[in-house]
Symmetry: C2
């Protein structure tokens, strides 16, 4: 096991009716800005519940934070907050709203050019406090210190992180997810599953309990994901997915183990260039990551095959083949296509993505820093379309 430091100060209020707890979590004299997205929180009544719970406070609203929240939009929120002397933010929505709100919280007191927080990783000295009312389980942003921000003008989609942008609290009421479109439900399951893989599918370091926890998260998503699509208003199913997605990226399973994140970094470029949903990029890329990095990930791939997919084929190589196929089938079964061709993207994408990776300095990715642009190119090539001739999709040859 590797040495680690772990502290996660976010308070989670979980369950039906918890939005009413807001009143106890935000100072009564706070000047609050509610941030949200495209209006689904208006339609499903969540925004009304939030407004009711905040009764008596000075409350402003900033709608219109888009999926893959943009610097351009968020800076308008920063200006509004300055103008109105806002001192508490409340994100109401999914990971994009939470991520965008982290950037707003960091940018409000920032003295220099705020884009440097993202592009240069300039450390923060302060951030204004904020909470989250989560309505889409997926990114884990509600209980971590990371955000991914896009600059529209330059098609940059990049992460930043600071201990100052942990939410003070996050409210997770599974009933707010009943009305999610199937596509967003499925995307959330794929995203959470990929988060676990990024922290699990590296090389073994004898971190027994982290492995067991990661496997438990994946087993839960495999069991509960399809149920959520079949029965969107099953409370326990929604609750299990919501809590699992949070635990998938709150620092817990990363403590003491190597991490990868190759798939996410390449996926960010696909989203920035072609507008694919974040989870779609992960569903496309992960089988290829497994195939191309098969040698380096062999030990964990075998464990993944045995413990997560229950594959008892005595041949380790055959078990790995089956596990990669199971992963792809799982994503497809949720309705998320796993080839670039399914999204109308062809081979000319390869040089474009590679150029972007180079431009962002992503030239040594992965747990061993050995995923060069050349290796990334192999991965993307495997994602183009199904090659039925091999008998296994995207099987390494």
């Amino acid at each position: 096991m590797q040495n680690f430091s772990f502290r996660n100060p976010t308070k989670i209020l979980f369950g039906k009716g918890q939005i009413g707890s807001l009143d106890g979590e935000i100072p009564t004299n706070a000047r609050v800005m509610i941030t949200y997205g495209g209006g689904s929180v208006k339609k499903n009544g969540v925004l009304d519940q939030v407004r009711a719970a905040l009764g008596g406070r000075t409350v402003l609203e900033f709608p219109g934070i888009e999926p893959n929240p943009t610097y351009e939009t968020l800076m308008r929120a920063v200006e509004l907050a300055h103008r109105e002397d806002i001192d508490f933010l409340l994100a109401v929505g999914g990971g994009s709203v939470a991520d965008g709100t982290k950037f707003i919280a960091a940018a409000i007191p920032f003295k220099e050019e705020p884009w440097d927080i993202v592009a240069e990783g300039t450390p923060l000295s302060e951030a204004i406090p904020f909470g989250v009312v989560l309505t889409l389980p997926a990114t884990g942003s509600e209980m971590n210190s990371v955000a991914v921000i896009t600059r529209q003008a330059t098609r940059d989609k990049l992460p930043f992180s600071s201990v100052l942008v942990y939410p003070r609290f996050s409210i997770l009421d599974p009933t707010t997810t009943y009305s999610l479109p199937a596509r967003q439900t499925a995307n959330g399951v794929v995203d959470a599953f990929a988060h676990v893989l990024e922290q699990y599918l590296t090389y073994p370091v004898n971190a027994a309990v982290q492995d067991r926890f990661a496997e438990g998260l994946m087993l839960t998503l495999i069991e509960e994901g399809p149920k959520a699509l079949a029965a969107p208003e099953d409370y326990d199913v929604r609750a299990n997915i919501m809590w699992t997605a949070t635990l998938a990226l709150n620092g817990l399973i990363a403590a003491g183990v190597p991490e990868d994140w190759t798939t996410h970094m390449i996926g960010h470029e696909l989203t920035a260039l072609y507008g694919l949903d974040h989870a779609q990029t992960l569903a496309v890329l992960y089988p290829a990551t497994m195939a191309v990095c098969r040698a380096g990930k062999r030990g964990k791939l075998v464990q993944y095959a045995r413990r997560v997919w229950g594959i008892d084929n005595p041949s380790d190589e055959a078990a790995i083949d089956e596990a990669i196929a199971c992963t792809r089938d799982f994503f497809e079964s949720l309705g998320v296509p796993t080839y670039l061709a399914d999204y109308g993207i062809e081979a000319n994408a390869i040089p474009q993505v590679i150029d972007q990776l180079r431009r962002h300095g992503m030239v040594a990715l992965g747990e061993r820093k050995d995923v060069t642009p050349g290796v990334a190119e192999q991965m993307i090539a495997l994602c183009l379309k199904a090659d039925r001739s091999t008998g296994l999709n995207a099987r390494a040859t």
Copy 2:
């Protein structure tokens, strides 16, 4: 899944060499009191490492905190702290030292009779800050807000809890556990395993990920426990046990599920009356808890049999029998005897324990509050000695 609130603010610094991090975690102008136990931290060099890391600060020491820390001893520490104007505590040792230090931290600023914190559950309005350098993985006290304190004069052993007694930080260096006697290593594994059972072996509430995490903790203890006895200086084994014991009782697996704690409450009385090690009482009682509460715990007992012990007997009843036997065999395999007769305790203990339970108001224990003194009596009767005639030890009849 049940509604829950979860927040754990303790910072964990994990791994070899982390004691050196102390300097960054305690204010340089703090007046520190180091609390410890019987001197093992002197022998194994941990206290020297701690002193070196605290260099430059005003540091006092309070040794002599015993296993099952007593009010009588701890109040002497409180007096010393008052006299010397101590404003930071550092517990160096196992769960007893951590628990005792929580009481000291709470009692120093407490205006009334400090025993009321324990006996009456009087809420705290403040506590002085403290950290932990853990040397014995077992109780989880290093990352939770609970302590168990004994009043020697009256043989009361009782828990108290407050959000004000989370450690500010805990340092977990697995190498500090290399020199533990086998008995303490084994006790720690049993204690952590029993903590998981208290939060898992109740009734199902469709809390899929909590169940998976609890099972992962137990599987890790089953795999790593015997290795720690066989190879006491295997770093990864010690690391796995140390982190597992912390995660077994830091609030995570309890979030959203019912809890039992019958076995602990009866066990506390056995320790207070007869001086058994805490873990010994759990090893003795848990098979009996499973047998006597078999009907109420049936669903989870079957799941425990299948997922933790891998029992594939098609009969659920037979699988439960096997799982209870496996539990007992596991404790025995670690060298912890599982019958009261092994500790020289006979049937006359039953009325004494029941009297104590009544005196402490423990008359409706368990996840359904249906463990009356009568039920507790049945449990203790099953613990007296092995009944080979049934073919299964302590099998419910």
